[in-house]
């Protein structure tokens, strides 16, 4: 695409964005297993509707089906945005049933969970094509530069869609949101604890700003 055409296209999308304010947007909550996606989805939905999205667990791949919650109005200061929130299964490149057995599940249950987890990952990948923005949840106690994070960010950048990074688990002593910021400096980042609610108001402000 020529430079003039590209600039025109960007101005056109910005113009459309201004006049589409108030329209409901479909936002996906993505991240690796056990990053806190469902904990965050539950907190957002509870704070604004009083309900919950799904169950949480210390065992990875607790969420093995995408859950959509429609029409969640997020209000922050003077702005608000209406979102359809899709809580997706954790993305991974490997799933070993023995990891589940090591956490105390039976072999039969572990094999079933592994099978369902693979289907969940496929569903999460397919949802990427149907979203208008992503909240990427990263565990700020872990190395942020994983293939899963890079793949989600790369796909959003390639499609020119908004992305907000939630650097989760700042309630833990060894958390380091700055590592995430250094790895992906070009995207907005909010350090949060989805579990305790630390800094969650700032996240809501940024959601209203970036997805509104």
């Amino acid at each position: 695409m020529g430079i003039i055409k590209k600039i025109r296209s960007n101005f056109s999308s910005a113009f459309k964005k201004i006049f589409k304010r108030g329209r409901r947007r479909r936002i996906g909550i993505y991240g690796p297993p056990n990053a806190g996606k469902t904990t965050l989805a539950n907190r957002i939905v509870r704070d604004f509707t009083g309900d919950a999205v799904g169950s949480v667990s210390d065992i990875p791949h607790e969420t093995r089906r995408a859950h959509r919650r429609e029409g969640v109005t997020i209000e922050s200061n003077s702005s608000s945005v209406v979102l359809d929130i899709v809580d997706t299964p954790g993305l991974a490149t490997k799933i070993d049933f023995q990891d589940f057995m090591a956490r105390g599940l039976s072999e039969e249950e572990s094999r079933r969970r592994a099978k369902e987890a693979t289907e969940g990952v496929v569903e999460a990948v397919r949802w990427l094509d149907d979203l208008e923005g992503v909240i990427l949840v990263m565990d700020s106690t872990e190395d942020p530069f994983t293939q899963v994070n890079v793949t989600v960010i790369g796909n959003m950048e390639a499609r020119n869609l908004p992305l907000l990074i939630a650097a989760n688990k700042i309630d833990l002593d060894n958390s380091s949101p700055s590592n995430i910021k250094n790895a992906f400096p070009q995207h907005p980042l909010v350090p949060i604890s989805a579990l305790t609610g630390d800094n969650i108001d700032v996240l809501y402000e940024q959601i209203a700003k970036h997805f509104g």
Partner: protein, 114 residues
């Protein structure tokens, strides 16, 4: 171990790349891609990998690449040009390839025999 040149990767379609990678990894090979994969190709590779996972037989893949250069010129930012993260990438069976350490320019991995 197979080291795949950028020229070869450029000649292959997404389907062919994913097929080549997974066929090799299932045979226990380590693949080194000179230029990495595009974001949509990475997504297709993850999707195809999940379809191949067989508990007790194949647990999936390990895939690692350098962090890449994330700096952009003002013109690239104005044009919202995607950042090119595709750099040398190592892919192998999850039960044989383990990433030990990674920084801006070095990936250290442990490769074990089956």
């Amino acid at each position: 171990m197979d080291l795949i040149s950028k020229d070869k990767l450029d000649r292959l379609s997404t389907v062919e790349k994913v097929r080549m990678i997974l066929d090799s990894v299932e045979q226990g090979k380590i693949i080194v891609l000179e230029s990495g994969l595009a974001p949509n190709e990475e997504a297709k590779l993850i999707e195809a990998t999940m379809a191949k996972i067989d508990p007790g037989e194949f647990a999936g893949i390990e895939i690692e690449s350098y962090p890449g250069d994330v700096s952009q010129s003002w013109l690239d930012k104005l044009l919202k040009k995607p950042i090119n993260r595709a750099r040398l990438t190592v892919i192998g069976p999850a039960d044989q390839l383990k990433m030990l350490k990674r920084d801006q320019d070095v990936i250290s991995t442990l490769v074990s025999a089956r």
